[in-house]
């Protein structure tokens, strides 16, 4: 979204330039392609498929497998056609004017060359297609049929390898199937930057291998592991234990069955699978995925292809974490809590929809009269659901006490979202990140919190020289791989940095002690047209940071985008799942905005409350003191809330709790009525990704489970109101119904940076964020994936460690009055006086155990454990 009046140069893309076209021919077909187009790609346009293995459109050409050989002639200076003496690899050859290409279709030479290469590839191949995962969708199998000899002349001894090599708990490698195309290693080098496998040895012994002291003479760089996975992990080529969030992509691009996933290995045949496109539900990127299922069971997920969003890559979480949707604790029928004569609450028991809806409706209307009902829908809804929730809150419950944020949040953030995010449509895009002169990340660890966004940033940094800066307490491996620059900041000091940058970039003078004054001239790229500031939801915990980011954007002309962690939050902002917002960015306080929404919703008698409501914390506070009569909860994990203990008390105290849930959870434990809802795979819908792009997906599995909007629709009907969200189509149309808001936008948030806390001896400031793979329920039931999650460590600077008398590898206890966590120390180059731990990893639940949030002071002690 653009928050400033855009400078013309920044906003207007230059006139679209027609690329120079090159005319040449393939098998007699005249083609005109942009200059620089590879012959193999151009031939596809003519419908001619040249066989290939190493070629991949998103990787740099390698020319290694030699399967794509074609005959080529080019005109010389006089225009006479000169045949090239040998067949050429069409995957490395750019088309030139007048070039004449003959593929296997018209050239016996090319055909024989291809058959020769194919025979050589197959001669050492085990030909174990009947037991291979790839059989049926294998480029080697298919192209051996289309471009190979009918039989092999190889009578000799095949190369064999012990099988398989365990690359991680999740990825296995059967070397004898490998055709050494190097797609996997090129992916790790060029795309992910976590080189966990590499080519080793040479000649016929050449193989893909993990780091191996016997092969590499033990010259590992050593040092302490920065990120160590939970499960078995071998060192990668840098000597670090292998940990990658993207390794699953290598399984998908491997043109044979050499790389397989432990979860899917030997599980099914491709031709038994039904494929349905989907959208990754684990982050706000909206990655295109493909859901492959068999007889109602999801067998695997693959990356979809979407050049403007995730290209062909997805995170391992989007790929492997899907069993949560069919976990044994799925709620399959409505549940109603028995209440004894004396009013004491009993157990939940299955109930009919009719009964459950009646009990829920009665309870909610009673609660509405008894102070009102708060609404906590959670951040994982589709946009259709979000609209239904928003409308249910406003019309059925008559309240603005609605907040989707099940995380650290602030009023400043709500104001920021209303001012700069809601109703702005598609703003900064993935493509913009790739070409920006500079990108500043604040409150966002892209690799952990928005996986494929990291890949785009890295691509930009690698291929287009995008300069990446991050305001963070330490330089993560992710930042290193983007060749990024750290602007070291203790939690809570983000605003200070942003203000300093603004002064610096607008030519102001900075006091010498200001960090930004020490920056090199490269930071000035941030003031160039097209630069981007990416802010994460964590800024909600840093007072003054959102306003400071806005001010910086305004001063430099940089464009600003907000990247939340959860898939539903951007859509939720749009739908008004915030106490200060109605759909489309309409401020609740604006009468015209309320009138538009009332009209869109066909409201006549009732009116939408004019005052902003309570946010998540406010709702929980009100519940615990009885100021609210009840609560309607969606997919909220209480442990995710900034103070889970408080949330539990609040729900226990609540007069009436209705929970819409896919699976039994802590929230359902407190519920009076539980209404089951469908997980993404069993329903259609759409997410809005952080770009603001609509990411629609169909239902993959047939299911009787109902989406949220349908459940809310019948609940509203029970209460005598129509929600207009009975069917997916209706719910989808309802999203567009209010139309764009042309009135005044909410005013920009004010807010001052807080005073940094005084760090008493024995204490440190807590820094924390969630890792991509952690203790979340979305990853339940996937042991192989869990093995690749990073272990919890307490990161601190050497000086800070020394002040607690601990060294790298020792163990420390972080404690508050509430509780303590004990984790190993990892000394890192980072700001002093700060300790970082993962927010919600196994054995390290910061909110739950410590009752603390980032920026708080925690006690730190050496632990002998």
């Amino acid at each position: 979204m653009t928050v400033t009046t855009p400078k013309p140069a920044a906003a207007e893309p230059g006139p679209v330039q027609k690329p120079d076209l090159v005319t040449f021919s393939v098998d007699g077909v005249e083609l005109a392609v942009p200059k620089g187009t590879l012959v193999i790609r151009a031939a596809e346009q003519a419908g001619i498929q040249i066989p290939r293995f190493c070629d991949h459109p998103l990787l740099a050409p390698a020319g290694a497998c030699r399967q794509c050989l074609v005959e080529v002639a080019t005109p010389d200076r006089e225009g006479n056609l000169r045949p090239m003496p040998k067949p050429q690899a069409s995957c490395t050859l750019e088309a030139t004017p007048g070039m004449v290409v003959k593929t296997q279709v018209t050239s016996p030479v090319a055909d024989k060359a291809q058959q020769g290469v194919m025979e050589l590839l197959l001669m050492n191949h085990p030909l174990d297609c009947p037991v291979c995962d790839k059989g049926g969708e294998c480029p080697l199998q298919n192209q051996a049929m289309s471009n190979g000899r009918a039989d092999s002349r190889f009578q000799d001894v095949k190369r064999r390898f012990p099988k398989p090599v365990t690359i991680s708990t999740q990825i296995l490698l059967d070397r004898e199937r490998c055709v050494l195309c190097q797609r996997c290693t090129r992916f790790t080098e060029e795309i992910a930057g976590d080189t966990f496998i590499a080519l080793q040895l040479r000649g016929a012994e050449q193989q893909i291998g993990r780091y191996d002291v016997d092969v590499l003479d033990g010259d590992a760089r050593g040092g302490t592991a920065v990120d160590r996975p939970v499960g078995e992990a071998y060192p990668d080529t840098s000597g670090q234990p292998f940990s990658s969030y993207y390794s699953g992509n290598t399984v998908q691009i491997c043109p044979v069955g050499a790389l397989t996933s432990a979860a899917y290995r030997f599980r099914s045949r491709p031709f038994d699978l039904v494929s349905t496109p989907g959208i990754g539900e684990h982050d706000a990127c909206g990655s295109a995925i493909r859901v492959d299922h068999r007889r109602g069971v999801v067998m695997r997920r693959l990356s979809g292809e979407d050049p403007v969003v995730n290209e062909e890559w997805i995170t391992d979480k989007d790929r492997f974490a899907f069993t949560w949707q069919s976990a044994p604790d799925r709620v399959t029928t409505p549940l109603v809590r028995d209440v004894a004569e004396d009013g004491t609450k009993g157990e939940l028991r299955p109930a009919s929809w009719a009964e459950a809806l009646e009990v829920a409706a009665n309870g909610l209307s009673a609660a509405r009269t008894a102070g009102g009902v708060g609404v906590l829908p959670g951040g994982r809804l589709t946009v259709e659901d979000a609209y239904a929730w928003s409308r249910f809150a406003r019309t059925v419950l008559g309240t603005n006490d609605v907040d989707q944020r099940a995380r650290v949040h602030s009023a400043e953030e709500a104001a920021f979202l209303a001012h700069s995010v809601a109703g702005t449509g598609v703003g900064v895009t993935f493509g913009d990140l790739e070409k920006a002169p500079a990108v500043l990340l604040v409150g966002l660890e892209a690799e952990e919190e928005a996986g494929v966004t990291f890949l785009r940033l890295r691509k930009g940094a690698e291929r287009h020289g995008v300069k990446v800066f991050a305001v963070a307490p330490y330089a993560s491996r992710g930042l290193d791989r983007m060749h990024g620059t750290l602007l070291p900041a203790a939690p809570g000091t983000e605003a200070e940095w942003l203000d300093g940058l603004r002064t610096r970039l607008t030519g102001g003078l900075l006091p010498p002690e200001a960090g930004s004054a020490l920056l090199g001239p490269e930071i000035e790229a941030l003031a160039q047209p097209g630069s981007v500031i990416l802010v994460g939801e964590r800024l909600a915990g840093s007072p003054g940071a959102y306003p400071a980011a806005l001010a910086l954007a305004e001063a430099t002309g940089a464009r600003l985008a907000w990247i939340p962690r959860r898939a539903g939050e951007r859509g939720g902002v749009e739908a008004g799942l915030l106490p200060n917002l109605l759909p489309g960015g309409r401020p609740v306080t604006d009468p015209a905005a309320r009138a538009e929404i009332a009209a869109a919703w066909g409201l006549t008698g009732t009116s939408i409350p004019a005052e902003p409501g309570l946010d998540t914390t406010g709702i929980l506070d009100a519940l615990s003191v009885g100021a609210l009569g009840g609560v309607l909860v969606g997919g909220v994990e209480l442990a995710d809330l900034p103070d889970p203990a408080h949330a539990r008390r609040a729900l226990a105290a609540a007069g009436f709790v209705v929970s819409l849930e896919v699976r039994a959870s802590e929230a359902t434990r407190y519920a009076d009525v539980v209404l089951p809802v469908a997980p993404p795979v069993e329903r259609s819908g759409s997410y809005w990704n952080w770009e603001g792009r609509v990411r629609a997906f169909p239902a993959a599995l047939d299911s009787s489970a109902l989406p949220d909007h349908r459940v809310l629709d019948v609940l509203a009907a029970q209460l005598g109101t129509s929600l207009g969200a009975a069917t997916p189509v209706e719910a989808h149309l309802a999203v567009a119904a209010p139309g764009p808001w042309t009135g005044l936008r909410a005013t920009a948030p004010g807010g001052e940076a807080g005073e940094p806390p005084v760090v008493a001896p024995g204490h440190a400031v807590l820094a924390s964020w969630r890792l991509m793979l952690d203790d979340a329920r979305g990853q339940d039931g996937e042991a192989f994936l869990a093995g690749t999650a990073k272990r919890a460590v307490a990161r601190m600077s050497a000086a800070t460690a020394a002040s607690f008398d601990v060294y790298d590898g020792d163990t420390v206890t972080l404690a508050t009055d509430r509780g303590s966590v004990t984790v190993p120390v990892a000394v890192a180059d980072m700001v002093d006086g700060v300790v970082w731990v993962p927010l919600a990893s196994a054995g390290c639940r910061v909110h739950d155990t410590l009752g603390a949030v980032p920026g708080d002071l925690v006690r730190v002690e050496r632990s002998e454990a």
């Binding site: 050409p61 290469v117 590839l121 050492n124 040479r202």
Partner: protein, 446 residues
């Protein structure tokens, strides 16, 4: 025909490798002359001399230097290819051992000519003694003011780094060499970009053979015409001819290009006593073999090419009638299978297959179809591989089957090798009791 000892001139001198020996014989006059010239004039002189690359391909050296883009203020590099590993090729190593200052003077002149301030000499890993000698020679040159800051007071700076490889034939291929020098796996790079545009550390780079560079001082000192006067019309100058095998006096013979094997054999005292020439390689194992029919073929690029082979590195491996051609080709193929870098399918898999077929043939387990199979495999490798190593691997196989098909057939029909290996040995021959299995070292079953 007489020899033209230029690079080999001082090989017999007392402590020939010392700088003082080299200087006493007029060494470094070339450098002084070069430093008095414009760099462009030095390039022109080398162009005019007709010097062609001595590393195998015979590309005109001056023209290669001329391909460098105009200076842009950034670094540009000279990399000397001293990885000499081609079977039969053994000229650069004795040159560096006996007269390393020849190379170093050449490096300085060339660097000056192309505007390079940091040159690298990439030496084959196994030849530790040469590596040491080069290090000592470079040290001597630094001490004498030929290297370092302000070379001979001219204001020109040059650093030289001698780097030892890890011993891989493929690292002699210029782009694999550059990768190896950068600390990566030694595998050839995709071209373009060519090294002249983006070579070492993606900067403009000239890669030349040791002998090419060592020939430069003479050209500058004596003039392009002096050099061009030697040799033939299109193959000018002097070159080292390395005779090995069944000759009376194997060794380095420095002669003008165009000399014939008959002349060289005369100089070398002829074939082994009582034996006659059967086949020979004109330029190392990667060049198709010749027989006595080519005794009078002038050893220049054009004539050797016209006769169906390549001048290559002028590594003349001479085999007399006691040698089994199948056995010789089989050993060469073992070499290629062992040295294939593995990057591309035709070479990696093709050499692995050919190696097994040749071992089969040699031990009498071949079949009638094996010769045609080999020829077809070669057809599927030659011109299909990523680099010239794969092409080279086919040369001995194709040429030997063409010339000696009957001998191959005899192995099939007789179920074994008709030759006595000890008759071919030049030294006491102890047959190995346990033959190395054909697959030793291949695959992961170790």
């Amino acid at each position: 025909m007489t020899l033209t000892p230029i690079l080999t001139d001082t090989w017999d001198a007392e402590r020939s490798w010392k700088l003082s020996t080299y200087e006493a014989a007029g060494g470094y006059d070339g450098l002084r002359a070069a430093l008095a010239m414009e760099p462009g004039a030095v390039v022109q002189a080398v162009k005019d001399s007709g010097l062609r690359g001595r590393g195998g391909a015979g590309f005109p050296t001056g023209m290669k230097w001329g391909f460098l883009p105009p200076p842009d203020g950034g670094p540009r590099y000279l990399v000397v290819n001293a990885d000499e590993s081609e079977p039969g090729t053994c000229k650069d190593i004795p040159l560096m051992l006996t007269s390393p200052q020849h190379l170093i003077e050449g490096v300085i002149i060339t660097s000056y000519a192309i505007g390079c301030h940091h040159a690298f000499i990439y030496v084959r890993g196994e030849v530790l003694h040469v590596y040491r000698r080069l290090l000592a020679a470079v040290e001597e040159a630094y001490a004498a003011g030929y290297l370092g800051k302000d070379v001979l007071g001219t204001g020109y700076d040059l650093e030289v780094t001698v780097h030892a490889g890890a011993g891989a034939y493929i690292c002699g291929e210029e782009t694999a060499l550059l990768d190896s020098l950068e600390g990566l796996r030694g595998q050839p790079r995709l071209k373009p970009p060519f090294p002249a545009v983006a070579g070492l550390y993606a900067r403009p780079t000239v890669v030349n053979n040791v002998e090419s560079i060592a020939s430069v001082p003479g050209i500058i000192k004596n003039g392009a015409d002096w050099f061009a006067a030697m040799g033939t019309e299109k193959s000018q100058g002097h070159g080292l001819f390395s005779l090995s095998g069944h000759v009376q006096r194997p060794g380095q013979y420095e002669a003008p290009l165009g000399v014939t094997l008959r002349e060289l054999l005369d100089l070398a005292g002829g074939m082994r006593e009582g034996h006659e020439l059967k086949f020979w390689t004109p330029g190392g194992s990667s060049t198709p073999i010749f027989t006595a029919d080519q005794l009078d073929t002038p050893l220049d690029y054009e004539s050797v090419g016209a006769a169906g082979s390549m001048l290559g590195t002028r590594a003349l491996q001479i085999f007399d009638e006691t040698v089994c051609v199948v056995r010789a080709v089989s050993r060469w193929t073992d070499f290629y299978a062992h040295e294939s870098c593995g990057k591309c399918t035709p070479c990696r898999e093709g050499t692995y297959w050919m190696k097994q077929v040749l071992h089969r043939l040699e031990t009498g387990e071949g079949t009638d179809g094996d010769m045609d199979l080999l020829l077809d495999l070669c057809d599927n490798i030659l011109g299909r591989a990523f680099c010239a190593l794969g092409d080279g691997a086919t040369s001995p196989v194709t040429s030997s089957i063409k010339l000696f098909r009957d001998e191959y057939q005899a192995h099939v029909d007789g179920h074994g090798c008709p030759f006595d290996p000890s008759a071919a040995a030049l030294f006491l021959y102890t047959p190995k009791s346990a033959r190395t299995p054909a697959l030793a070292g291949a695959g992961g079953h170790r």
